[in-house]
Amino acid sequence: MKINLFIPCIVDQFAPKVAISTYKILKKLGCNVDYPFEQTCCGQPAFNTGYHYEARICAERFLKIFANSDYIVSPSGSCVAMVKNFYQELELNPEAKSIYNDLKIKIFELSDFLVNVLKVEDLNANFKAKVTYHDSCHLLRELNILNEPRKLIGSIKGIELIDLNESDRCCGFGGTFSVKFPELSTIITEDKVRNIELSGADYVVANDVSCLLNIQGILKNKNSRIKTLHLAELLAMGIENA
């Protein structure tokens, strides 16, 4: 069984540690991991802004690169949802369409893959901290992933997982939304940060780098002691500590 890593462009450029952590976790679990090297972007930014032509070109390219994968695993709910759920909205060429029909059931977000495919709920990790978990919108509502990340976090020894008030409320990122409506986006992010601060956690964990960068954008400006952490980073650090 070979796993093809799908590393979203934003992770590639701004949070490579998340990708490295994903790779290390899967390696640790004995998986054969490859990284289709020519991958760039799945097309989500264009698609969400309404640029279906641009999105379709990216999608067709993506599908060609990932054709014949056994599994595709990605540390991003949002980008997996783009491929799995939203590629069908694009008028793909017939070749791409047939690859899509094959791949849409083989693509998984990391926590989904660990818990539901590899059936791993305990990574024997160790990390002493108070954390709280933010449900990223696409992960929760497009992919229906609610408990998997919580199970994985809960299995880490030494960790205290604190419930986040309004954990399923959007962090205010929304891709181009945050650039088109920066003030509005900021207000919503500030609500999220207020709830995170109220939780008393040291770290806020999520499964999407874009949400985390957005939340960090306010935390950092406030000189908050709270750090953002991707689930993959948390698990990888925990494994190293064990």
Binding site: Q13, Y23, T49, H52, R141, E142, D168, V179, L184, N221
Partner: protein
């Protein structure tokens, strides 16, 4: 559409964002509705998701075969002695009402809540034509006194604090200031009771029009709709084409979802089922009921397979209660009659796309709206659909189109992608302290510097080289 001002969405948003008091009121009110809704579903309706599926099925069947049910409804209206008009647009609807009121010698009109009358700008129109029009739903009455527009489809005065309402009453009626909701409500009751008793015509909306029986169903809590449709001799129902349901059973099924989604009530205080005009008693004249069904661009949706679901809406308001955007700015920011997620997808069809396309961009696409919609409208997909149409029509700024062309170029050409990536990595040290400066974003939020080594580079160094060494 006379009552819409969606062109200035961004400016309105900025204005509303600066009003912290407003934000607190809206957030508190919507949170209240959200928790009531969840409480009722969790405690009483374990079959909630199945009900939503069933409701979606009923709505999709009805809208697909709309003409069939419409004909059936008209036949029943004729049999039941209910007069009927189809209005293509707002001005048609308004002039039909005016003609009716004139022919019945009406001077004073009482109105119960109807968003369609907001859509056609009926109040202003009738007042211009010399009629006295009184809104009787407490929220609508407050809004009318304040000379404002509803900011929510089921709670029109949601944006107003009790203090503001207290000041408004004190100023308008020259009474001692009170902000106690009980006292304000009692005061409104006394004033509006006289309006009801003296009214010549009552105008209401409708929640459902049952094709099978011709029944008009009106759902309310205050009793003002019942008074509006009972006391005056002329009752005008103004509603829109999507209110048709095939059977009474279907309507009762949808009624299980509507109040729960709206306020968390299992059923509202009053649900009226009206088939015929009230008959005469003693010296009183018989009542007349006239139904006006407004199209205003909606029939375009009936024929549109991709977007027909917008018409499934039963006007519960759950999507706006649950929308982080609505919660932050309230309904007036949208500038449209129907605010929130459902408004953002309906308005471009009843208004022009070019004028109201920005509404669809005022969403994070978080999907909270679709998750709570009782009839399972794929609201966030419809938002994406409006964005797509807007780009196809080249309504987006030129600079944005150029950016996406360049973006595509760098995403489909791996050499260019790598070059840009290396360039970003090279710049990384410059931004370590300050973070990357992104237009618009960085005014409010920090953005980290690009990584010094991208994952692509790491992979090449760490994995590929090791593999090669291992293979040697």
């Amino acid at each position: 559409m006379p009552n819409s001002n969606t062109k200035h969405f961004k400016a309105l948003i900025r204005e509303k964002l600066s009003d912290k008091k407003l934000r607190n009121i809206v957030k508190k009110a919507t949170s209240h509705s959200i928790s009531k809704r969840i409480e009722t579903i969790n405690n009483y309706i374990p079959e909630w998701e199945q009900l939503r599926d069933r409701a979606n099925f009923i709505r999709s069947k009805t809208m697909q075969n709309w003409e069939f049910y419409f004909e059936q409804l008209l036949k029943k209206f004729r049999e039941n002695g209910i007069e009927f008009f189809y209005a293509n647009n707002s001005s048609d609807a308004c002039s039909i009402v005016k003609t009716l009121l004139f022919s019945f010698g009406v001077k004073k009109v009482v109105k119960s809540k109807s968003m369609v009358t907001e859509e056609i700008g009926l109040n202003e129109y009738l007042e211009r034509n010399g009629f006295e029009v009184t809104e009787t739903d407490l929220g609508e009455y407050i809004i009318q006194l304040a000379n404002e527009k509803p900011s929510h489809i089921t709670a029109p005065a949601l944006h107003k604090s009790r203090q503001e309402i207290g000041e408004l009453f004190s100023e308008k009626f020259n009474i001692d200031y009170t902000d106690a909701p009980e006292k304000l409500t009692e005061f409104a009751r006394l004033i509006l009771r006289q309006k009801f008793l003296n009214a010549d015509a009552g105008i209401s909306g409708a929640n459902f029009l049952v094709a099978e029986t011709g029944t008009i169903i009106i759902v309310e809590n205050e009793g003002n709709a019942r008074l509006s449709i009972t006391l005056p001799k002329l009752h005008i129902v103004i509603t829109s084409i999507e209110k048709i349901v095939p059977t009474l059973s279907d309507a009762l099924m949808l009624l299980k979802l509507l109040p729960v989604s709206s306020t968390g009530q299992k059923i509202t205080s009053y649900v009226s089922f009206i088939k015929k005009p009230l008959q005469s008693i003693g010296s009183e004249n018989s009542q007349k009921i006239v139904v006006i069904i407004l199209d205003n661009g909606r029939s375009k949706l009936l024929k549109n397979d991709k977007s027909r679901s917008i018409l499934y809406c039963i006007k519960c308001g759950a999507c706006m209660n649950n929308c982080p955007i609505y919660q932050s700015v309230g309904g007036h920011a949208y500038g449209s009659v129907y605010p929130g997620p459902i408004g953002s997808i309906l308005t471009p069809w009843i208004n022009t796309l070019n004028e109201s396309k920005d509404l669809a961009y005022g969403s994070t696409l978080c999907g909270a709206c679709s998750q709570v919609c009782p009839v399972k409208i794929d609201i966030h997909n419809q938002l994406l659909g409006i964005r797509k149409l807007s780009i196809e029509n080249k309504y987006s700024p030129l600079i944005e189109r150029v950016i996406f062309k360049l973006w595509l170029l760098s995403m489909k050409n791996f050499k260019l992608f790598t070059l840009l990536s290396k360039f970003l990595n090279f710049l990384s040290p410059l931004f370590q302290e300050s973070g990357l400066k992104i237009p618009f974003w960085s005014k409010y939020k920090y953005f980290p510097a690009p990584a010094e080594i991208s994952f692509h580079s790491w992979w090449q160094k760490e994995v590929k080289i090791k593999e090669r060494i291992n293979n040697v």
